[in-house]
């Protein structure tokens, strides 16, 4: 039986969690844009706009130290980062297209190498998803098998109701535990009237058919047609909830410094640049092909999932108007 929580109680929940010392992450206004950021109090929660960057940073920060070192007269000391010290976190008000990317990322970060930095943050995070009531013409979750009310990856899921309250569905044990710990803030309901949800324009695409085409078209004039105009920046990958490539850099002086893990992107010309001087993806069409292949073929071959949740961020951000929804729609029609 779903529960109901009023907007006031939702805010009380945030303040309570912050009071308990938890890291609460939610959409927050940051100048001209909205970002998922730690909330100091419920007042900072800003649910109107889609955050510019995705929620993946909750588990996979833009940049983090993986070790630090310092040198003194007695020698060099290396300090490991202890994932056990990562804080308990509640991600609140995350869009379904952001949340659905979490299980996608789980697969890659727990594959041959267990990335404790990612996995420990993931273990310690409870996700409260929120259904979308607006969509623009870049949104296409419906084309990739999701929807503005998809609960995939959420622990609790909120659906806005007429009158300003939310229906709250329990999706996982983690969600159940969070709800149980704050049961007083929720009420029983069976008559909740949801507000109308968003309706992205692009209907379901045949993803198997798209994959079948990709299986046999590594070489195709399409790549040149679309991608010759790609500027080769990292905007699409950096804003994407499912992109997960990173680089590791050592920075500092001979006295002290850090080894850092930070986002990387297949659009960059140096992404596959070998030490030998050879670059197997010499031109932008080869790099963009990798982006599409990775999202709709390679990742599916390996993990049975797609690396795109249809959030449309790459479409909105691309400075040269490359539109991934258009591309997969075109392939679907081939």
């Amino acid at each position: 039986m779903p529960k109901i929580i009023t907007d006031q109680n939702l805010r009380l929940l945030i303040d309570t969690l912050v009071g308990e010392g938890k890291r609460v992450i939610g959409p927050k206004a940051a100048g001209t844009l909205t970002l998922y950021e730690p909330l100091a109090s419920a007042e900072e929660l800003s649910l109107g706009e889609l955050p510019r960057r995705s929620a993946k940073e909750t588990f996979f920060p833009l940049c983090e130290n993986i070790l630090t070192y310092e040198k003194s007269s007695s020698g060099t000391t290396v300090h490991d980062i202890d994932p056990a010290r990562f804080p308990e976190t509640v991600l609140i008000g995350a869009r379904p297209c952001d949340v659905a990317a979490a299980p996608v990322l789980d697969a890659i970060f727990s594959w041959d190498f267990k990335d404790e930095f990612f996995l420990e943050r993931r273990r310690k995070t409870t996700i409260i998803g929120l259904a979308c009531t607006t969509a623009d013409d870049a949104c296409f979750c419906t084309a990739v098998g999701l929807s503005p009310a998809d609960t995939r990856g959420s622990d609790l899921f909120l659906t806005p109701l007429a009158g300003g309250s939310y229906r709250c569905d329990v999706i996982s044990d983690k969600g159940e535990a969070l709800l149980a710990a704050h049961a007083g803030l929720f009420a029983e309901t069976d008559t909740a009237e949801p507000v109308s949800l968003a309706e992205p324009q692009l209907g379901p695409l045949d993803l198997d058919r798209i994959k079948a085409w990709l299986d046999t078209h590594f070489e195709d004039p399409l790549w040149e047609e679309i991608a010759a105009r790609c500027a080769g920046c990292g905007a699409c990958a950096f804003l994407c909830p499912a992109c997960h490539c990173f680089d590791i850099s050592d920075e500092g002086s001979e006295k002290q410094g850090a080894r850092r893990k930070h986002w990387d992107a297949c659009g960059f010309g140096k992404f596959t640049y070998h030490a030998s001087g050879h670059n197997p993806r010499e031109v932008q069409p080869h790099r963009y092909r990798n982006r599409i292949m990775h999202k709709f073929k390679y990742y599916h071959d390996k993990f049975g999932q797609r690396l795109c949740t249809g959030c449309g961020r790459c479409i909105r951000a691309c400075p040269v108007g490359i539109d991934i929804a258009q591309i997969i729609d075109d392939i679907n029609r081939k």
């Binding site: 930070h262 031109v283 108007g321």
Partner: protein
Amino acid sequence: MTNTAHTIDTALYDAVTDALRAEAKKVLESGTAAAVIGWQAGRRRGSAVPAIVTDPADAEKLIFSPSCVNNLALYLTKAKKEVREKGKLAVVAKGCDMKALAGLMGENQLKRDDVYIIGVACAGVYGPAIRGNAPLDDGTLARKCRECAAELPEGADVSLGTVPRRPAFTPHEAAELARLEAMTPAERWAFWKEHFSRCIRCYACRQVCPFCYCEQCLCDRNRPQAVETTPRPAGNMAWHMVRAMHLAGRCAGCAECERACPMDIPLNLLNRKMAKELKELYGHEAGFQAKEKGPLAEYREDDNQSFIK
């Protein structure tokens, strides 16, 4: 606020579109160029995206509208070798884009004879995130266009359209620059520090800039590392200083860097500050003429040295 007194008449764009299609068809059919780089409609309502047209039949796809924001000079640089390999290129240029082409010629990146320039009269383009058929007015016009005096490119092989009279817009960029200059150095430092703290080092600003054609960017070097590559305060500040200094006197003012920035960092404000300094110190300004050398690429005995303290 929509103010009818400040609405631009957009009939110009339809006339230019017709002329552009005819011109592109002619250019491709006659073999004047192997490809025409212009804009075509995107999937999203009212959007326009860069187009590389090689078949005369596809000339019909080309458009010119207030959504045609991209500076297509980007595709003539050596950073886009897959485009250059198509043969002689024709490119559509607004006034601000023409300055970038002139700059590239001055820097020997482009020979005048190797490119066919189709200049288009421009009354302004939309600011970020505005698409569709919104009127072009105070609220929707890109900031750079409010103060533009380059509505008709000079030096093109052909110029399409005549500029209608534009209403006088209150300048935004000049006002912002004045606000920046009124700050104390400490305030200014804080202002930029705050903005650069949002930078995620996606390099969209670099990748859309026609002048960022270096095959080896200092900021990508890791052996040895010159500038920290991670998106943290030190590296971000260094990256933006390198960018500002390197573009000083070269920047065409197309504001593509600012438009491309997903973090809404006001990069063109910095560009314009640098341009102003260069003008005051060396009397140098980016324009329609290809100049052999920019002030930061040559030394003269009588150079202004007042900034060396």
